[in-house]
């Protein structure tokens, strides 16, 4: 079982769309996938038509396997399950802080799911917190959507430096340019240069397309409701590159 987390310190960069589409593509390829919507806003849960509510909240989930099992919901797609968001996740740092070795907690919780799932996708809220630190320790691959701006590249550096300081297990960082506006020269330039200059940035880019925004209307992955669209093709190319790099 591999754990993939979509993460960025910044918000609104396309983490949720990436998590949902990558999760769907992996399941379509035959993997048994669990998607955990760790963001209390519950966008992933909304997109998959699952109510963002967990019995006992985040506190119950962090306790153990049984509570985790009971909270998992099947989605409308074969082999793709969801652990929904819950509003109590906003207090996840406090919940984790009350456990022993909080940064290892998520990893210890998820590893026993290996008999049931081939891939776990964690959709993380933005920011640097105890939860995100716990995610970074648990993940095998960190999938980082980047808006192609100088500031975004700076955050990627900060993230890489932070991970470099870990003892032992370190996730493989796979960054990609997200929400690219082709009309903006800066976007185009950075999207072309970055993969040349940095080995942790892949070539595939996800453009800012209205069809991706439409996911919130269709409440389904774009790879499911428009599988032949340019958006779906880009996500498939991204999934292929991610799989090649670290899965």
């Amino acid at each position: 079982m591999r754990i993939l987390a979509t993460y960025n310190i910044k918000g609104g960069v396309g983490k949720t769309s990436t998590a949902v589409n990558i999760g769907h593509l992996a399941a379509r390829d035959g993997m048994r996938v669990l998607l955990w919507d760790l963001d209390p806003q519950g966008a992933t849960s909304f997109l998959l038509r699952v109510r963002p509510r967990v019995k006992g909240g985040g506190k119950a989930l962090i306790k153990g396997r049984r509570e985790l099992d009971a909270a998992i919901k099947g989605t409308d797609f074969d082999r793709l399950d969801l652990l929904p968001a819950d509003f109590t996740y906003r207090n996840m740092d406090l919940i984790l802080d009350s456990t022993k070795k909080p940064t290892e907690r998520l990893d210890r919780l998820l590893r026993p799911l290996a008999d049931e799932y081939d891939l776990i996708v964690l959709d993380c809220p933005p920011g640097i917190s105890l939860l995100s630190e716990s995610v970074l320790h648990a993940a095998d691959v960190l999938l980082v959507p980047l808006i192609p701006t100088t500031l975004s590249v700076r955050t990627l550096d900060q993230l890489s430096d932070f991970i470099a300081g870990f003892d032992g297990h370190k996730p493989t960082v796979v960054a990609f340019c997200s929400m690219i506006d082709r009309r903006k020269r800066l976007h185009r330039e950075i999207a072309e240069q970055l993969p040349e200059e940095r080995s942790d940035v892949v070539r595939t880019v996800i453009p800012a397309l209205s069809l991706i925004e439409r996911m919130s209307v269709e409440r389904a992955p774009v790879t499911a409701f428009a599988p032949r669209s340019a958006a779906a093709r880009q996500y498939a190319a991204l999934w292929a590159e991610v799989a090649e790099r670290g899965l």
Partner: protein, 517 residues
């Protein structure tokens, strides 16, 4: 126990489409939407000839033409194990399945018995989604219309099954409740396999090697014995095709047991049959027993071969391989001989004449079944006690072999007349006897196997170049068998003491008196 299928239903009306029936039943809380096109699949259910999967609460279904796993094993709790495998031909042992969870679940249940088709049907499967207010699928409805495979083609009423999407069990239960209350929908009381078998005039567990006749104590003894013998003839005949085709080793085993039981019944109780019958048939049944012996002896070796080879200390399993090849070749020769005998006019005449002899009108008067059973069981029991008590540590092996045969006769009598007795007392008496039989059986098997292994070695030497290492490995096997034989011989005294203890004697006395009925 009545089986229940709380999420399975039968659709009674053929006027309305299943999707309309479901929509009407589930509105307004849930919506129903078709999912994909209907699929036509060929369904085959598999089990061993003696229904081992059914007895273990398992159902194995193969579906050809489906997108899902080709083989699905379902437990009574609804747990499913699937595996995709193409090109398998049944009957075959579970080991024919590719390695994986399905193989691992089946192997310990089926052991040496082959899986074979028990029922076949053609099915049209249509799936419907049940959606909640968010248009989220919370359950699947599967509508299955089945018809029997073959010329008959009997059409069964369509079934409707509710399957919860993970995390939506409460909603699925609610959907099942709504369907249960709907017009034209009735709860299913049998599994799809049971329905198909019933339509084909069969039922699960319709073969067992156990004697299952219902006798009464006051029925004429001859009628009772004839019922037992007809049952045994049925068992014998049921196992002939599987033995001829060599489907698995247990067809021959059950056939041999039926022959042995028949011979014992004729020997021990034949005096109540029509005059001349025992004399006319005992020789023929001896012939039948004899023709089946060589191959069974080889089967015993082959069935235990892996364990024997793994237990070698000085030799390696590879060094024993020539012995394995020899056993397999000998078995092929013996198998052909046996198949010839079972297809012969002599065998057909025997079974036909035997059935006719057993169907002859019986006199209404004479000894009753209860009296016959009590008399023969107490005599056989007394014989076992007397001969067993005479055995000392210095007694020759023949005395133990003789006792083993007497024990077997007593056991068969207990089986023939089981339906006359209180099951609790009867089962305990059988358990008392079994302890002694196991010890004597082990002793006898070890003696026979040692004799045979020497004989096999001698034959192998005459046939071809045999590596010395193979003979040495066989020597090690023989020495292991000799050690087992000695252990069994040492255990005999305590096993016989248990059997002859007053508690056991009391049980046998109770069994053959009125108290045991």
């Amino acid at each position: 126990m009545v089986e229940s299928f709380p999420h399975d239903f039968v659709l009674a009306s053929e006027d309305r489409a299943p999707v309309d029936v479901a929509r009407a039943a589930l509105a307004p809380r849930f919506k129903v939407a078709p999912a994909g096109r209907p699929r036509t699949v060929r369904l085959t259910w598999l089990d061993t000839f003696d229904w081992r999967l059914h007895q273990a609460g398992l159902t194995l279904q193969h579906s050809a033409g489906s997108r899902a796993g080709d083989y699905t094993l379902t437990t009574d709790d609804g747990e499913q194990v699937t595996a995709a495998a193409k090109g398998l031909r049944w009957p075959a042992l579970a080991s024919a399945l590719p390695p994986g969870p399905l193989h691992d679940r089946l192997q310990p249940v089926t052991e040496m018995r082959a899986l074979m088709p028990t029922a076949r049907a053609s099915a049209t499967v249509r799936q419907l989604r049940v959606l909640n207010a968010d248009d989220k699928t919370v359950a699947w409805l599967t509508v299955t219309g089945m018809s029997l495979a073959g010329k008959d083609g009997t059409v069964l009423a369509p079934r409707l099954s509710v399957t919860a999407v993970r995390g939506y069990q409460v909603q699925a239960d609610r959907i099942a409740q709504s369907l249960n209350a709907a017009a034209g929908v009735t709860p299913a009381v049998a599994s799809p396999l049971d329905d198909v078998l019933a339509a084909a005039g069969r039922h699960p567990g319709d073969y067992s090697s156990k004697i299952d006749v219902k006798l009464t104590a006051d029925m004429p003894a001859r009628c009772a014995l004839e019922e037992v013998l007809l049952w045994l003839l049925g068992t014998l005949e049921a196992n002939v095709p599987g033995t001829i085709r060599d489907t698995d080793t247990e067809f021959l085993h059950d056939l041999r047991v039926a022959v042995r039981r028949t011979r014992s019944a004729v020997k021990l109780c034949g005096d109540v049959l029509a005059a001349g019958v025992p004399e006319a048939f005992s020789g023929e049944f001896k012939w039948l027993g004899d023709v089946t012996t060589p191959i069974r002896d080889l089967d015993v070796y082959l069935l235990g071969y892996d364990e024997m080879a793994a237990g070698l200390l000085a030799a390696t399993p590879a060094e024993l391989e020539p012995f394995h090849r020899y056993l397999v070749q000998r078995r092929q020769i013996e198998e052909r001989e046996l198949a010839r005998a079972l297809r012969s006019r002599r065998f057909l005449d025997l079974t036909r004449a035997w059935r006719k002899a057993l169907a002859a009108p019986a006199p209404r008067r004479g000894i009753t079944a209860g009296a016959l059973a009590a008399d023969r069981i107490s005599r056989a029991h007394a014989k076992v006690l007397k001969r067993g008590a005479a055995i000392t540590p210095d007694s020759p092996p023949e005395s133990l072999h003789d006792l083993r045969k007497r024990c077997k006769e007593l056991r068969y009598l207990l089986e023939f007349f089981a339906s006359l007795y209180d099951p609790a007392i009867h089962q305990q008496a059988v358990r008392d006897l079994k302890g002694l039989q196991d010890c004597l059986g082990e002793y006898q098997d070890c003696q026979v196997q040692q004799h045979e292994i020497r004989m096999f070695a001698a034959q192998m030497m005459t046939q071809r170049d045999v590596p010395a290492t193979a003979l040495l490995a066989m020597g090690e096997l023989a020495s292991k068998i000799a050690r087992r034989e000695r252990r069994a011989r040492r255990e005999f005294a305590s096993r016989f003491a248990d059997f002859s203890a007053s508690a056991s004697q009391h049980r046998f006395r109770a069994l053959t008196s009125d108290a045991g009925r």
